[in-house]
């Protein structure tokens, strides 16, 4: 087989069977990993805001003694501080992610790095806030320090496994494939 002989047929191939731009910009349907990441970040930000509003409602309606009010107030303060820090990181990441005009090798490196970094930040964020949320909810419903402590501890342990599983299920296969391509490009033949 001679590839050069096939070049004429290749050049003459019109490929008109794939329609060009018949739909609107498919931001909601895209299968690009970067677009998917950005879309998930938007959704998760919205869910977090709704979650915070629900949490504030729970806190405001809860009866409690001076100690539980102090614990809940401290936890709310810590939660909001961490949320502001992480959301600012997510926002910077969201604006920077996905540049497609680099050489292929650099581009794959960048996307893989950004994806993996974001997965870790996401896990660490949820690992930090889960026990605080549990503390606030438990502190708003009971005055028993023992129960509050147990609920927070269990939430911490569950969050570790749950969010690790979540990000691996959501992005793990894509990340593995990107790493495979990266390794392939890295190999000097």
């Amino acid at each position: 087989m001679n590839f050069d002989n096939l070049k004429d047929a290749w050049a003459d191939d019109r490929t008109d069977d794939i329609p060009l731009a018949v739909r609107k910009i498919p931001l909601d349907e895209t299968a690009s990993i970067v677009a998917r990441l950005r879309r998930n970040m938007q959704r998760e930000f919205l869910l977090q805001v709704i979650g915070f509003v629900c949490l504030i409602v729970v806190v405001l309606w809860s009866p409690g003694n001076a100690l539980s009010i102090f614990i809940v107030s401290t936890a709310v303060f810590l939660l909001l501080t961490q949320a502001v820090y992480y959301f600012s990181r997510f926002y910077l990441f969201y604006k920077a992610v996905g540049r497609y005009d680099l050489g292929l090798r650099k581009s794959i490196y960048k996307i893989t790095y950004e994806l993996e970094l974001n997965m870790e930040i996401y896990k660490s964020f949820n690992y930090c806030i889960a026990p605080l949320v549990a503390l606030i909810v438990a502190g708003s419903m009971t005055t028993s320090l023992f129960v509050i402590f147990i609920v927070s501890g269990v939430a911490q342990i569950i969050s570790f496994f749950l969010f690790d599983l979540y990000v691996r299920t959501r992005y793990g296969r894509r990340l593995a494939e990107l790493k495979k391509i990266m390794e392939d490009l890295e190999t000097e033949e």
Binding site: M1, F3, V22, G103
Partner: protein
């Protein structure tokens, strides 16, 4: 963009075998070209910039979850058929070629596409971000692999 849409369609055809996926990928590439246009400074050819954006998009584009998963063939593992059917018609050869290219991995697809488009080793190296020497070695290996795949499909030309 109209002048180059044949190239974009070919990229979609070699990266996706399903017509719906090809269409989705084309939409995605057009979107990324539009979003990235500000980064085109004119210090390189428009086609080189377009190849970069298109390949970067195609490589990070994955099939939808519900559809068939992407294949990532690292080496042909099929046995050769006992008898190979000779193909003389160029159009038929091209159809078989497209089928065979589907079995290459994503980097090999980019290499063979750029070669078929008549890009030089230096230009391919710049688009892929690897050395020209690496391009030459990989291209030779990819061509051999492609010839073998075509034979495993039962054809010879």
């Amino acid at each position: 963009m109209e002048a180059h849409n044949g190239i974009l369609r070919k990229i979609c055809r070699i990266y996706q075998d399903d017509p719906i996926d090809q269409h989705d990928l084309l939409q995605e590439i057009l979107l990324q070209l539009w979003l990235s246009y500000d980064s085109f400074r004119g210090d390189s050819q428009f086609s080189s910039w377009m190849y970069r954006v298109a390949f970067n998009t195609a490589i990070v584009f994955f099939k939808k979850e519900k559809r068939r998963q992407d294949t990532f063939v690292t080496a042909p593992n099929n046995q050769l058929p006992e008898e190979l059917q000779p193909v003389r018609d160029k159009g038929e050869q091209l159809k078989i070629f497209y089928r065979a290219v589907q079995k290459l991995n994503k980097v090999e697809k980019a290499l063979i596409f750029l070669y078929m488009e008549g890009q030089s080793g230096k230009e391919i190296a710049a688009i892929l971000g690897i050395t020209p020497l690496n391009v030459r070695v990989r291209l030779g290996r990819t061509k051999d692999k492609l010839k073998y795949i075509i034979k495993t499909l039962g054809y010879e030309f």
